[in-house]
Symmetry: C2
Subunit: 447 residues, 2 copies
């Protein structure tokens, strides 16, 4: 794709270039712009039709958008902003540095400025920040034919025309009609007789993650957003809901790997920022592993007498940590998919307890037999087997309890995942192991 | 919701019950059916209108579907199957035990049987398995008015009417038209003059995860699926694509926590199955931690001479493991979002190398200072600081190399995540730590 474009530019075949570019999907442009020089990017962008240019612009990352805006005349900037959907303009304003924002606001139509200000003022992560104010609004007393006339007239600049919203005179949402329903209805039927009045809505202040989950559950194309007085103020479309779901998943992944989440992608995050995102949890977890070290020091004379005990520390710690993170991952995912609820706590603990016993028996048996064969040491075999039974059961218990406790206290459960569980289970596993060892082997810790 | 339903049933107010049930969204029923008794579930289901019943049925989990089918007469079963979309019928056949499948197939219309057999024969995880064969097909020479007539006649049983497909006489896909475009066109325009010929398609054998990613990139509502001869055989709708994306993410989460993925949700998986899904990786990882133990044993006289070294094992192992899993998680996510490509390998390594140096310097410094204060032991401080520099750099290197190597050899990168990286980095970290310690402290290992 890029080679063809580069060739057309260097051969100055601009008509062919335009034709080829117009045939591409606007979602193909971000990767093209990543790979060509800035000068060529501007050439490519300028050659697009006004409509295509706006479509492409909305797809681009903010650093590319900024470069383009800096190359625009005021006229070009105004053209783009007029073509952009309202929610894309708001996203743009939120991402740009203040000098660019000033230029953008200067070129916004007066009628749009108020709406943009309202959209900018919704609290972070609320439904208001991802909704668009452009939708097809119809009146209850319209006929089907009148509705079609209105859709033809206004619908084409709207982000979705397939769901239409029927409002009362004071803009309260009375019902919805799919374009499909209008198609089969008789021309002179009144909307109020055919509209669907069982409308599921959300409000401007709802958490956007909850909104995205509603899309996942109900398979909407668009969800109406109402204010406190139940007036329709906007709609959220499925593409924005999918983006929220994806962002949420990405955040869970990095949090579960003990990284502070960042808004940017891997390559767009600087080395310093990467280091900063990672060092916080590393320091915290390092401090806690010092406690584990201190526990080991306490049993110095145990491993002075039986040095082989030290060789089992990695296995005990590792297995316990893995068991804990298996459980915590399943529970965290279960909670974020709404399958596991706080009220299921005892059900989860009982299930994990039985899984733990099964898993620990297998691991204990495998290890016991290995030790008997390798070292012919029955006491050591018993120590390792009993320790595993204790540590695995405890790890599974912590693996479900900590994330659910976090949720109970409105802390993000993903923060309780793998590394936190591992560290807590490290301490406990070493403690259990040495307790069992000194007891079974009759070692006095306080010599 | 459930209380209201229970009350209406016990008061035998079935008309009110029907009215209330019809006002609910079909996606609300699975949670209702989870909580009522089987007898009440059948009462509730029977009271629904035929159309609602089919909608609700498609939303249910397979165990509930099976219970309902077992309560159906042949007539009731036929009614439901006639109303179901083709892809939902195929899903049902794939989930049910063979005696139920026989009953279903007996009640399928002859005309549908061939299509169902074809759908059942697409390879696992291919686009063919998630597509529906129901779509609006139009001809190039139709006028806009004829198109509307056809949509009105056939479109209403179709899963999506908003994208229409223009086919040649031999059913090759020539273009697409959105319902929106038809609305603004003149009645006597020919479809071939207004259709969009730049159609993005996929084929029946494409991996369904790649298809789902196309939805994410292009914001489609539906994607046409063609066979080898470019004939249109079906479409994939956005709701099915979202399900694929969600399943993929769930799979990545469990794989990254060293669990074998399962098709079922947490509670629907039995204790034995849970234990089975978890034990495989636990045994593998346990075996490898035995190697770490063996490395430690080799340095027995090092910690016999300097017992405090043992206390640093958890910190070194833990920090190294956490550093490795931070990197591997970012790289695995980056690859699954298509931001990180195999050709970026050296760019990634160079970035991670610089992050590692920054992080290691901070961790080494923090530890060195702590040791100087706590133990007044300069040699120990140097050993720990140098070890961290080595282990952190190595962990970040492994954290990006192993997942990318896995992808190169077509192994799932998620399998290389947290636990595998941790185990490899466990071995290396212990080895580096004792090598550095014996060298700096002048301990002879082979006494």
């Amino acid at each position: 794709m890029n080679e063809k474009i580069e060739n057309l530019i260097s051969e100055k075949r601009f008509n062919d270039l335009r034709e080829y570019l117009e045939s591409l999907n606007s979602a193909d442009f971000p990767s093209i712009f990543e790979e060509v020089s800035d000068e060529k990017m501007i050439v490519i962008y300028r050659i697009l039709s006004k409509e295509k240019a706006a479509e492409v612009f909305a797809e681009l990352d903010s650093d590319i958008q900024e470069k383009l805006i800096n190359s625009f005349s005021e006229k070009e900037l105004k053209d783009i902003i007029d073509e952009l959907f309202m929610d894309d303009t708001v996203d743009l304003i939120e991402e740009m540095p203040s000098n660019v924002v000033k230029r953008i606001l200067k070129n916004v139509k007066n009628s749009d400025r108020k709406v943009i200000n309202e959209l900018l003022n919704y609290p972070e992560d609320s439904a208001g920040t991802i909704m668009t104010t452009e939708f097809v609004d119809l009146k209850e007393n319209m006929t089907v034919e009148q509705a079609f006339d209105k859709i033809r007239k206004i619908g084409l600049q709207k982000e979705t025309v397939y769901n239409c919203y029927v409002l009362s005179l004071d803009r309260k949402l009375k019902g919805i009609i799919d374009l499909k329903d209008l198609l089969i209805a008789e021309k002179d039927q009144k909307l109020k007789d055919i509209m669907n009045v069982n409308v599921i809505t959300t409000n401007t202040l709802e958490d956007k993650e909850n909104v995205a989950k509603m899309f996942d559950k109900y398979n909407f194309f668009a969800l109406p957003v109402v204010d406190k007085e139940k007036r329709l103020v906007g709609i959220i479309t499925i593409d924005d809901a999918i983006d929220v779901l994806q962002d949420e998943v990405d955040e869970d992944f990095v949090k579960m790997a003990a990284i502070s989440p960042s808004d940017n992608t891997y390559f767009k995050t600087s080395v310093f920022k990467h280091a900063k995102n990672r060092i916080f949890w590393l320091i915290i977890l390092m401090l806690s592993s010092i406690v584990t070290g201190a526990i080991i020091t306490r049993y110095e004379n145990a491993f002075a007498m039986v040095p082989i005990l030290v060789a089992f520390i990695p296995m005990i710690m590792g297995t316990t940590g893995n068991c804990g993170s298996q459980t915590s991952t399943l529970i965290i995912r279960g909670m974020s998919n709404d399958e596991v609820q706080l009220k299921d706590y005892f059900r989860v603990v009982w299930k994990e307890f039985r899984v733990a016993i099964l898993v620990a028996l297998m691991l204990g048996l495998a290890n016991g037999i290995r030790i008997l064969i390798q070292y012919q040491d029955l006491k050591l075999a018993i120590v390792v087997a009993i320790s595993l039974l204790g540590t695995v059961t405890l790890a599974k218990f912590l693996g479900c309890t900590l994330p659910m406790l976090a949720k109970k206290f409105k802390i993000d459960p993903a923060l309780m995942a793998t590394p936190v569980i591992s560290t807590v289970s490290d301490m406990c596993s070493v403690l259990i192991f040495f307790k069992v060892a000194t007891f079974v082997m009759g070692i006095d810790v306080n010599i």
